[in-house]
Symmetry: C2
Amino acid sequence: MGGDAGPDVVIPGAALSALRHPELRFLLVGDRSRIAPLLERHPKLKERSEILHTEVFVTMDAKPSQALRQGRGKSSMWLAIDAVRTGEAHAAVSAGNTGALMAMARFILKTLPGISRPAIAAMWPTLRSESIVLDVGATIGADASQLVEFAVMGEAMARSLFGLEKPTVGLLNVGVEEIKGAEQVKEAGRILRDSKLPIEYAGFVEGDDIGKGTVDVVVTEGFTGNIALKAAEGTAKQLSTYLKRCLQRTLMSKLGAVLASGAFAALKDRMDPRKHNGGVFLGLNGVVVKSHGGTDALGFATAIDVALETVRNDLVSKIKADVEIMTGLLKQPGHAEAKQPEPSL
Amino acid sequence: MGGDAGPDVVIPGAALSALRHPELRFLLVGDRSRIAPLLERHPKLKERSEILHTEVFVTMDAKPSQALRQGRGKSSMWLAIDAVRTGEAHAAVSAGNTGALMAMARFILKTLPGISRPAIAAMWPTLRSESIVLDVGATIGADASQLVEFAVMGEAMARSLFGLEKPTVGLLNVGVEEIKGAEQVKEAGRILRDSKLPIEYAGFVEGDDIGKGTVDVVVTEGFTGNIALKAAEGTAKQLSTYLKRCLQRTLMSKLGAVLASGAFAALKDRMDPRKHNGGVFLGLNGVVVKSHGGTDALGFATAIDVALETVRNDLVSKIKADVEIMTGLLKQPGHAEAKQPEPSL
């Protein structure tokens, strides 16, 4: 029911996904009177779907605490996440209110032992290929040991989803020199460098290193990560608008644009945010993926793909194992103790 | 002597500026044996320049505290800023070590009364025109009253440099709803909304609003501002690389690229980082402008242009007057007191 268009995007998105992955089954949680008519248009999806009816849903502007209170046990968001807890579903995908989704996911699925806070990981297209950036908005601020947790989780995700043996991990900072930057980032750098963690730590990276693909995993706290992600999205839109305007200026450039239309189509495809949609919630006992609220069916299908890959690669177990190793290593003398998990909401 | 190339960029940059502004005079601070031969190639600059010789200079990787200790009273950076203090120069422009430049500028010029911390303001090209973003890296972190100071200074700069009567000001946040975001940002929002400050406060803006030009002035703390700026720069480079690659794919697209070359030249010009070079240090008793360390002569000339405009518009006096109004208003009952200035370094 979430996102700007609700079932009008989610159902066609699931239908696309059903065609791509004939083995998938769908539990569609929400208002039957809105879902059922849409399903009629997608018979392939219909035969592999079940509707879990509820008329309660979390609005896009609800506060997380309010959503938890009012949506508990009955909202579509709650029921979808709870299906992951009971094992009825392998993953939950939502285009709804991010804060509410994270709060409910933490409450229902609980964080993994040794993780104090979950993070949202985004796939960021780079000149080299694709990198993982986290946290892009689960929580504001992070101390050194939380940044180390993010590094461990992001590294496990890169190994798992990109099939890399030794993905490189960088800490986002305002300079690459060891003396620069925020205290907690410097401290996280020291822990990653000095610990025996089986992580290929590459040091600090700056904002422009993300798009270059300098490292496979970029670690930062949620406020900066969210703003960096959106600033990059804004710049991409800005440049494509400039390009369109410039190509319309003369007859010659218009003709050139027609001849090069294949190249522009390739560029558009490369930049298409719908192909990089899907923020993975890391650090929970289960898979929850957040789709952009303003995406279309193609974008929502990408978010489902991401959820499927996350489940197939058993990322949750991998993170669990890695966090155990981390907790063990960081408890050794000379290391700051890993933080105890916060009590759930 | 600063930047990646030192005088090899600074002198040709000053020469360009001398052609653009025949009324300017230049005090070239640094090693005469490197500067003098370069001046021979630029007679127009030579006749309006004076060399202030020193063989001490701050390296790009020096810690600010180290630069202050070792460069005090004798380094080129120190002497250039000190010339602003004595009135011998109207502004100092440097491509050197940002942290050292800011530390020395604070030490020599002092912050304005009522300002607890200076900020670096960048010009950010937008779809609408250009916006001011601050702080892009003077200091890490800022509390609510410091963010309000940034808003006041950025607004004065937009009025002054863009000639706007009522520039709009936004606070960079992870969501536009009032309930979202970092505590200090929310508190700054309350102060800006409830105070009688003569500022057109437009609320929170997100990362993608910067490039859209949603507001004329975007206020944030230096860590996030620096990373957003560099993430946007990285994305711009990334897209221009994609575009070049795509246009090289087929004969047809290569031909199209030739025909549309005027459009691409216009796009390149629009995106040219050298045309938006120059971070203005705001909140000091004097004008200091930081050029990108990796720029060329054209970029350095832009930074000199920015310094010239800042001086011509008497931005320092305008900020001083506005900060006095702010301090008065925020001291009224019901407002958090404006912070006292920190002791200088």
